[in-house]
Symmetry: C2
Subunit: 418 residues, 2 copies
Amino acid sequence: MNPGDRVHVERGDTEYEGILMPSTSDTEVVVKLDGGYNVGIAREHSDVEVLETDVFAVGESETNDASTVEFDDDLPTVALISTGGTIASTVDYRTGAVTAQFDAEDVLRAVPDLAGRANYRGRVVANILSENMTPDVWQDLARAVYEEVEAGADGVVVMHGTDTMQYTASALSFMLDTPVPVVFTGSQRSADRPSSDNVMNAVCAVEAAKADCAEVMVCMHATESDDRCALHRGTRVRKNHTSRRDAFETVGAEPLGTADYAGVDSEEVTVSFRRPHVERDEHEVALHDDLETDVELLKFVPGMDPQFLDVLEGKAGVVLEGTGLGHVHTDFIDRIGDLVDDGTTVVMTSQCVEGRVCDRVYDTGRDLLDAGVVEGEDLLPETALVKLMWALANEDDPETAMGRPLAGELTERSVPWT
Amino acid sequence: MNPGDRVHVERGDTEYEGILMPSTSDTEVVVKLDGGYNVGIAREHSDVEVLETDVFAVGESETNDASTVEFDDDLPTVALISTGGTIASTVDYRTGAVTAQFDAEDVLRAVPDLAGRANYRGRVVANILSENMTPDVWQDLARAVYEEVEAGADGVVVMHGTDTMQYTASALSFMLDTPVPVVFTGSQRSADRPSSDNVMNAVCAVEAAKADCAEVMVCMHATESDDRCALHRGTRVRKNHTSRRDAFETVGAEPLGTADYAGVDSEEVTVSFRRPHVERDEHEVALHDDLETDVELLKFVPGMDPQFLDVLEGKAGVVLEGTGLGHVHTDFIDRIGDLVDDGTTVVMTSQCVEGRVCDRVYDTGRDLLDAGVVEGEDLLPETALVKLMWALANEDDPETAMGRPLAGELTERSVPWT
């Protein structure tokens, strides 16, 4: 008996039928019931009968081919890349919570609705909760996406934990020049919960990966219902709620588009774009994966200990998350000027989240500009951090590059600030 | 000729008529035209004629009485306390931008529409841009409000820069037990700009200060139009846009109420409350102004230098702004546990801004709880910082207090996290 087998389990008076899920538990089996729920059943006193072996025999090989499922010439090929997180996780019933332990193949088993939508290539780049994501994993992931597109994938879906998805999506937006969509998706609710969002998000992400777009996007629930996913530009998206399924929002604009989902009983998903976006084409994928990781983000708050500035000394780059239009306490400005004089690129953003930094209105701002601080325009602070890492490693003039849109992350000032 | 005089200025072919404004310029006079705009006129070659002296002779005395304007027994008394910021500023035409240089009396001159709405007592606690606000000014301000309410004010309006208004409003929410409203207001656009919001905000704030409420609130534009202000609970409000007039939002709920503004030509402002709130009563105002200021906020981002944790060693309190449900990189958890073991109270909040922290779902969260981190529930990170400063100085059990609503800053978990 192996994960993917269709099983019948009898324990005491209760019977279960469904697909055996991977589990790290020695004492329980986890079965995905036909209704979509996962249950954990104690192995002891359980009779397990295998009804059918390997129901979704996809992605079985370790060699990254299209697996034992027959290749369908009429379908595009979508590369599924797993980095870990809830969408790639199962439930560990011993501890009562969710641990990361799936790979892409397992996801295909967990989401039968993906079958028939594309030819899949599965690949695991990492298996970590996204709070443990680091710039070197961004680089591994960018290289994996590059290889998949080079190898002919018509689109890429990246399964990622939601905590830091926006940072990774930003990183790939800068590192990749892609002719096909790269679609991040994840899950706010684990697969064992009735409210799980993983099936709809995964299905919509695959459909988005087949669409006429060549951007790095985030595909997550657009509402609290199972009606549609929003397609957010990777550099403008933010996780704005801790737990809601529609936690992800495009900041300062509407999402690029939507993937309308007719429900688990229908196969229909309609992807549509409502904003200008880069369209799919035939150009060669390019990878610029250098990063200067000696970059920090610091949020300014009243009463803050100036010792935090000590940590910034000698850094290649610093993103400040200031107040309002981009301010810090006047007492900090000389120290910030010293950082700039010593060669640190310092970029100002705002903790307001929405709107544009403008340091030409108030004394504090003008003093910051005089000290050599670069205005982060309407960059999200989190995107500014990633962009600065990228710009310092890839641009001849990183300071100027910070004020120029490279991957839809920034809207240029159309009129003077009014 | 003095600020407040009605003047006629002739310079070359151009004539101006309006109220002389305070100005630090030696070379220009600033006149508020009848349409509401301020203009700076070079003194050289200008003929200035005083048409009427001291048009709004209010708040003239330094002794904090009701001034030379006749006291109207039928009107409530509102204390106007100025701390600086755009609302209390004029335009310095030499530098082209805004500096803080008004006191409360000047604001009355600058906002003629305030006349007749209340008897005013004016008071200046500080004259700083709010990015320079510090916990000791919060304390000075709390004491000033306490004294004004003790002295019989029926409501208090605090004029404050918008950058850190939410921090100060939170601080006063915890420090004061008030029987009357304490209403913060400010301005996102300076008085010299056609789009200035200072008149409507000040008028609505005064009306809110007369209303049946005994909470610390923020009164700012509710929309981009001049139609109404929103009344936000001081502990749940956030400046969510750098420049829009309706930048302030109540996070996770609707505002407590609104002040509907019929326009500059009408005197009518209707204050209404739509959510439960503490009502005005006759109890004695109480002041609890101790703060433990040895508290820091640290925002976690991927790739962050662990040296930031060095700064936290020995602190009385730390607020972490984690990812998602309240996470940081696993590598940080032992260091955070050491802080707790050494006596630092560590509170977890989320950079998602909306939603509730819950560290019982994922491994990382449970490890953080095991390390002794306190869950900040649905506290805004900025409010959590202020609350922790207050709780460490005023509560026997600060950790428990952080999970209990003290000033509407937190909603208790009604159902288990689902």
